[in-house]
């Protein structure tokens, strides 16, 4: 149903940033890899969504990248967290845990 799709998309949008930053905290990755990892956790995101997000995060200096030449194909951007990004991430993760527990409690109370 359209309505829940909308809401779900909104929710996903909200946490996407958190997920991406978390993945990158495990080590550098290039966009396709990030998508693969998200898929494994059943978070489906199309690349068209990912790229702008990555670029924004890079613009706000939470991420940065390096180029890697490839034998088969165009050069790739490998993203990794900046110092600011790491701090930002831990902050965000804390807010997440707080929000999750609050929301859970709210939901549990409903019938």
């Amino acid at each position: 149903m359209i309505q829940t799709e909308n809401a779900k998309a909104q929710m996903r949008k909200g946490v996407l940033e958190l997920c991406i930053l978390s993945i990158l905290s495990q080590g550098e990755a290039y966009p396709t890899e990030i998508i693969e990892k998200l898929k494994k956790q059943k978070l489906v995101v199309v690349e068209g969504t990912l790229y702008p997000l990555l670029t924004r995060l890079k613009n706000t200096e939470l991420l940065t990248y390096r180029w890697e030449e490839s034998n088969s194909g165009p050069p790739r951007k490998y993203y990794f967290l900046t110092k600011t990004g790491k701090t930002y991430l831990s902050d965000l993760q804390n807010s997440w845990y707080d929000m999750v527990s609050s929301v859970n409690k709210t939901i549990q109370n409903s019938k």
């Binding site: 966009p31 997000l53 490839s70």
Partner: protein, 611 residues
């Protein structure tokens, strides 16, 4: 076998099938548009293209060198369609986000009606209205043009619209006219389009100039050449203006012709005292379908070139370059059709002049010694007879002079009829009685028709004792048409009788033979005696005699008849008879007889006898 297109994405060459290319291209364009709003749009695009290139590379190998539609589908699935992009662009654009998630962009802001000056034929009225209501302006143009025929309604409506509806000048207005949101995106799109158009036009001009320069072989270098160029420019511009004037003239002339044709053929007469075309056509042509066919034929034959002229004039003025060969072909065929009609009617009508017939009518007349013949003025009002009067410019007056071969159209309560002049001839009678014959002649498609028509000619001659009064004109009724009807009056005079030709017969005489070779005009007002050799003038004192006729002179001398109040003097070759107050005197070669009151004297050579 399929066509491939060669493209490069992110610097990598790909061969891609044509239809797959179309889809991929549209996809990339859609994404580009989507990210246009984003400040980092370019960077994002480059990342995306790079990823796409990578994906496509994995799809090709030595066995499969070309990107297919299925590959493009795969890319689109993987990358996602723009509608599927969770809107990363944050709250600055939040007013759009909801809409964009739904995948639609609200395009319909308030639409306003403007005149579209970029897509105009005349004033862009129909284009503008078409935009507003969403239909092709051609229909509206057709509708208005048709309305023109109803007292020019279309014209009035159009002018009102032209005045009331403003022209879309700024880009924002133009977008509002078409109903597109006038935001930066669309406006920049519109501007880009306009720039493209402008570029194309400049290119075209540039090319034209290059061609021209090519032809001229050199580019103007020095001042003199520049001046020449300038002058030729001015002349060209004047030429263009003149061309437009020519266009206007063509239209005006065409319209005038058209109106003239229209009125003359369909009976609306501009000039009140002249016979219009319809009357003549009516009388000459056959009735019924031939008449209408004939009129239609003329209308088409003359009207088509006129309309083409008007059309050409309009094209010149409004710089319409569109030459539809079907229009020209159609017009040509139509014109030929008119020509054929005319030909057909012409042949049929001509047929009706095939055979001629004469009808003779003998009018009884007593054989008086002297006959008087004059012409009666046919009683027709000036008003009734149209075109009978020639306006003599030199004398600045209406003169009744018309040649004897004129036909005229008269009109009375019953309708119109044809009038013609009758002719008179005086010849020697074969018998010793006077005969008066009226010969009526007409043409027809066969002898019977011709004869009918001849009989139907109305002509009056009155005879009272020795006076013959002939009508000046004969009348042909409408039904008989003009078929070269003629009326000839022949007066047959036996030898020894005298005829007096009244001066009213001036135009009626038709080369009457006479012994002195006198012209008809000089024959009037005189008495003529019919002799063995023909008419001889009795009254002709002071008449100039044709000196080429020596015999005539002799005969005048030989045969001399002199009748005066005093008496009669008859001179012959060798004799003379005198009748006067003295008595009778008869002189011959040998004898002289004189009779007077008292006695009769007879003198011969031999002796004188008195009784």
């Amino acid at each position: 076998m399929n066509k491939t297109v060669t493209i490069n994405i992110s610097g990598i060459i790909f061969h891609i099938e044509e239809d797959a290319y179309q889809v991929l291209n549209n996809y990339l364009i859609a994404i580009k548009r989507y990210f246009n709003k984003n400040e980092s749009g370019a960077e994002i695009m480059s990342d995306i293209e790079s990823r796409i290139a990578e994906m496509l590379q994995s799809k090709t190998n030595a066995m499969k060198q070309v990107i297919l539609m299925s590959d493009v589908d795969f890319v689109m699935q993987s990358m996602g369609k723009p509608e599927e992009f969770a809107d990363e662009q944050s709250d600055a654009n939040s007013s759009n986000s909801f809409d964009e998630q739904m995948g639609y962009e609200s395009q319909h802001q308030k639409k306003r009606m403007y005149r579209d000056a970029d897509n105009k034929v005349l004033g862009g009225v129909c284009s503008g209205i078409g935009h507003y209501f969403g239909f092709d302006p051609v229909w509206l143009r057709i509708a208005l043009a048709l309305l023109l025929f109803f007292a020019g309604t279309g014209f009035v409506i159009y002018i009102i619209f032209w005045i009331a509806i403003p022209e879309a000048k700024t880009t924002a207005e133009k977008l509002a006219m078409k109903g597109e949101k006038a935001d930066i995106n669309n406006i920049s799109k519109a501007v880009v389009e306009e720039v493209e158009q402008l570029k194309k036009r400049m290119e075209k001009y540039g090319n034209e100039f290059k061609d021209m320069a090519h032809k001229n072989k050199h580019v103007p270098r020095n001042v003199a050449e520049k001046i020449v160029d300038f002058i030729s420019d001015v002349i060209m511009n004047i030429g263009k203006v003149l061309l437009k004037i020519v266009g206007v003239f063509l239209i005006i002339i065409g319209l005038v012709f058209f109106l003239g044709l229209f009125s003359s053929v369909f009976g609306l007469s501009f000039m009140l005292d002249s016979v219009n075309g319809k009357d003549w056509i009516d009388l000459v042509l056959l009735e019924g379908k031939d008449l209408y066919l004939g009129i239609i034929g003329i209308a088409i034959f003359v009207g088509t070139p006129v309309i083409i002229m008007i059309y050409g004039g309009i094209k010149i003025i409004f710089k319409v370059n569109y030459t539809n060969r079907w229009v020209n072909l159609g017009a040509g065929i139509f014109w030929l059709f008119g020509f054929t009609l005319l030909l057909y009617v012409g042949v049929r009508t001509g047929n009706d002049f095939n055979k001629g017939a004469k009808v003779r009518e003998n009018i009884s007349i007593n054989s008086y010694d002297t006959l008087y013949i004059k012409m009666a003025e046919t009683p027709i009002d000036l008003i009734e007879v149209e075109d009978a009067i020639d306006y003599d410019e030199h004398e600045n007056a209406y003169s009744k002079h018309h040649t004897e071969s004129d036909y005229m159209i008269g009109k009375n309560a019953n309708g119109r009829y044809l009038l013609g002049h009758s002719h008179l001839d005086v010849i020697k009678s074969q018998s010793d009685v006077v005969e008066l014959v009226v010969v009526k002649e007409a043409k027809g498609s066969d002898r019977k028709m011709a004869s009918e028509r001849a009989k139907n000619i109305e002509y009056k001659i009155l005879v009272s004792d020795s006076l013959i009064v002939c009508d000046q004109l004969f009348r042909v009724n409408h039904a008989d048409k003009f078929r070269v009807q003629s009326v000839k009056v022949i007066l047959k005079v036996p030898v020894g009788k005298i005829v007096y030709l009244d001066k009213t017969l001036e135009n009626m005489l038709d080369d009457v033979d006479n012994t002195t070779n006198t012209y008809d005009g000089d024959m009037i007002n005189r008495r003529w005696l019919m002799t063995e050799k023909g008419l001889k003038c009795i009254d002709c004192k002071g008449l100039e005699i044709d000196s080429s006729q020596a015999e005539t002179e002799d005969s005048l001398k030989e045969e001399n008849l002199n009748i005066t109040v005093n008496g009669i003097n008859l001179k012959a070759k060798n004799s003379q008879v005198k009748l006067d107050s003295n008595g009778v005197s008869i002189k011959s070669k040998d004898t002289k007889r004189t009779i007077d009151g008292k006695s009769i004297h007879i003198d011969t050579e031999k002796k004188k006898q008195v009784h």
